[in-house]
């Protein structure tokens, strides 16, 4: 069976259309780039200041000044462009990003997101996350359905400090594909072999179950 990264990556990838400008967060979101349909080319935005992010260069061909927002060596594709941080975030906040894909510590049925700090434990800072979530036209959460200890991450109401209020549009996990609406979280698709009972049991928020919950095509 496909692993979490593959399930999530493939399903998120199908949310894009050709030519979309997308920012992929560190970790599982980055993997989305590996699962794009053949006829869909998206353009990746890197918040440290460019569009046209390409693959990791072969060893020995790294350039010290071409790195992604995690500081890792990358490449820039033909047609890409560099700019300063003000321009980078003008693109983000100005609605020029079709989507941002990020991980989450918690996400709730109002579309609130918490992914930048755990008080007293981990305070890395928000970096560009708050701008990305406030600015991108679609906010897609790509994550494991539950925390490492099995506790739910999809909640009625986030209790960690928020990254943004009511900005999340979709949640994709190894169990299913969910859309956040004004009424709550709608279960749109289940991963192969997953039941409604299973996904609900691992979700604190009450999922809205439409008559036709499809099986995720991955």
């Amino acid at each position: 069976m496909a692993n979490t990264r593959e399930i999530v990556g493939k399903r998120v990838a199908r949310l894009f259309k050709n030519g979309d400008l997308v920012n992929l967060g560190i970790g599982m979101p980055t993997a989305v780039a590996n699962y794009l349909p053949e006829d869909v080319n998206i353009i990746l935005h890197s918040e440290n200041g460019f569009v046209g992010l390409g693959a990791t260069p072969p060893e020995g061909q790294e350039q010290k000044d071409i790195v992604n927002a995690g500081g890792q060596p990358v490449t820039i594709l033909p047609g890409g462009a560099f700019f300063d941080s003000a321009m980078s975030f003008a693109i983000i906040r100005g609605g020029h990003l079709a989507a941002t894909v990020l991980g989450a510590l918690q996400v709730d049925e109002r579309g609130n997101l918490a992914n930048w700090m755990v008080p007293g434990k981990m305070v890395p800072g928000m970096g560009g996350a708050m701008d990305l979530v406030a600015g991108a036209r679609k906010v897609i959460i790509a994550m494991e359905h539950t925390a490492k200890d099995g506790s739910p991450k999809i909640l009625k109401l986030c209790n960690l400090p928020l990254t943004a209020v009511q900005e999340v549009d979709y949640i994709v996990t190894e169990l299913g594909f969910m859309e956040i609406t004004a009424e709550g979280i709608v279960l749109k698709e289940l991963a192969p072999g997953v039941t409604i009972e299973e996904i609900q049991s691992k979700t604190e928020a009450t999922l809205i179950i439409p008559p036709n919950v499809e099986t995720m095509n991955i």
Binding site: N18, I43, G52, I76, P78, G79, G80, A86, G94, A134
Partner: protein
């Protein structure tokens, strides 16, 4: 993605009542072919956002003469006598905006900002109807975003994806306008292949551009 298109495809995008940003400063850096296309289509009741109304027969001045403009949001109209005449005759609505404020208001729209505080215009008629905010003892006006349906941009070079390079003082308002409209149409003096521009020399990334014609 090749965004190079025909003049007719561009003309099809124009319609009455649109708000259109047009790059340029006294016609330098104004996409003359695109302005001509607007004149040709005879669309009316336009709102234009542009630095100035240039000259009779040149740049945005052509749209004044052809009486297609309902309202112009500009910093200067002194070089086009017809603009002044239409304004005094009540035929056109002119909103005068200080030039730096005009640049920032357009930038705000493109950058997703809700406004900026500027000291420019405090104590003048520019402040009428605007919120004043005092910070650290200095008074500022809250100036709000200006966006448009279409931006008409002039570039020296464009690659087929829409990455743009401007030349000399023809840059002026073009880069901000290329971020602030729903549809961004570029007239380029030269069109080159993707990959032929260095990624550091690009002044407007192609991701912001929708259509390109050779100008």
């Amino acid at each position: 993605m090749n965004k190079v298109t025909t003049r007719q495809e561009v003309i099809d995008k124009f319609s009455d009542g649109q708000t259109i940003m047009i790059g340029g400063f006294l016609a330098t850096g104004t996409p003359e072919s695109l302005v001509d296309a607007l004149v040709e289509k005879k669309v009316s009741d336009l709102t234009i956002i542009t630095n100035d109304t240039a000259f009779i027969g040149k740049g945005t001045g052509k749209l004044i003469v052809s009486k297609q403009i309902k309202k112009a949001i500009v910093s200067h109209i002194g070089t086009n006598a017809e603009t002044g005449r239409q304004m005094n005759a009540g035929e056109i609505d002119i909103e005068l905006v200080p030039q730096g404020t005009l640049a920032e208001r357009i930038r705000c729209a493109g950058a997703g900002l809700g406004g900026v505080l500027t000291p420019t215009g405090v104590g003048t008629i520019v402040e009428e109807g605007k919120e004043k905010i005092i910070r650290d003892g200095k008074t500022y006006l809250l100036e709000t975003p200006l966006s448009a349906d279409i931006a008409l941009i002039k570039a020296a070079k464009a690659d087929t994806f829409g990455n743009l390079v401007y030349f000399r003082s023809a840059r002026n308002f073009n880069p901000m306008m290329a971020m602030a409209a729903k549809l961004v149409i570029v007239e380029a003096e030269e069109i080159v292949e993707v990959g032929s521009l260095d990624p550091d020399e690009i002044m407007t990334p192609g991701v912001l551009v929708d259509m390109i014609i050779k100008g």
